[in-house]
Amino acid sequence: MIDFSQLDRVIHEKSRLSIMTLLASRSPWSFQELKSELSMSDGNLITHLRTLTKEGYVRELKTVANDSGRPMTQYEITGAGSSAFRAYVKVLEAIVQQSRPK
């Protein structure tokens, strides 16, 4: 029997799941890259990034843009974020596996 309480509610929201997936694939991503890949508004994206940062799943990096030399914000997944993401995917797979016709 699957323990549904194991599902991380922070990651379970679709937008945050998308952000976590991108950051788990490769890091770091700039704010603009995330925005263009996910087609989200500035406000929406920043809200979800704040939630994930507060939870300790994502960290902010202050970098300098190569071309202009201006400060730039990038985001990367933390160790805790990676573990939480892997656990979340595992539960999803278990749900699908269990409901598959035998």
């Binding site: 549904f4 309480s5 194991q6 599902l7 509610r9 379970h12 679709k14 799941l17 998308s18 997936t21 991108l22 788990a24 694939s25 490769r26 890949e37 940062t53 507060k54 939870e55 300790g56 960290r59 902010e60 990096l61 202050k62 970098t63 300098v64 190569n66 400060p71 933390t78 805790a80 995917v89 999803l92 797979e93 749900i95 699908v96 409901s99």
Partner: protein, 217 residues
């Protein structure tokens, strides 16, 4: 939403999102910047020699096959070393995707170019075919390649198309003869110069990280 209400379809939908985004996010660099730089320098040297002391078509072909072999082996070696340093396997999904994208146009260009030189002594046309097919091979990787490769692909395709039109129109540039010297010029401008610019640009664009601030849980 209560986690216990999670239906099978939602789980499937979330897995689909994860898979799609992960595929889109995966980046694979099929051309090592260092190998491109080395290949570019060798290519430029061979092209300069071909312009100043135009060789026979057979020697021209052998010289460029040599450049291809040296650059190709260097590229494989450097990609392998990079994988080892990162503790990753050399044969990855990224490499498979890259091979699927680049092998057909490269083979086509190779067969066409070699045949044009061997059977028709058409060095300029062979060079143009190589430039265009190499551009198409790189273009095939754009969905998972870094931006620098995309720029390189565009540079090869645009240069190949412009040079083809100019060559068919006016045999440009008329002052460069015999044909093998003109073919060397085409090769030097693209395979030599573009790879050097690409290698330098990649090295210059390494991110400079200033501060890393984290929010511990």
């Amino acid at each position: 939403m209560a986690a216990s209400d999670l239906p099978h379809d939602t789980a499937l939908e979330h897995l689909r999102i994860i898979r799609t985004l992960m595929e889109r996010a995966s980046i694979y660099r099929a051309v090592s910047a260092t190998a491109a730089l080395c290949g570019g320098v060798i290519g430029l040297a061979v092209a300069a020699w071909g312009i100043m002391r135009p060789p026979s078509p057979q020697v021209f072909l052998a010289a460029w096959i040599g450049v291809l072999c040296v650059s190709g082996v260097a590229n494989l070696f450097l990609l392998m070393r990079e994988s080892q340093e990162k503790g990753q396997p050399f044969i990855t999904d990224g490499l498979r995707m890259a091979l699927r994208a680049v092998v057909p146009p490269l083979l086509t260009g190779g067969v066409l170019g070699v045949s044009l030189i061997a059977f028709r002594q058409q060095m300029e046309l062979a060079a143009l075919v190589w430039i265009l097919c190499y551009g198409l091979a790189l273009q095939g990787t754009v969905s998972f390649a870094p931006r620098s490769i995309i720029h390189l692909a565009r540079a090869f395709l645009i240069a190949g198309q412009v040079l083809t039109v100019l060559w068919l129109w006016k045999g440009w540039p008329g002052m460069v003869s015999p044909p093998v010297a003109l073919a060397s010029l085409y090769m030097g401008l693209t395979f030599g110069l573009f790879h050097i610019i690409y290698g330098v640009a990649v090295f210059l664009s390494q991110p400079r990280e200033l501060v890393a601030s984290s929010s511990p849980r």
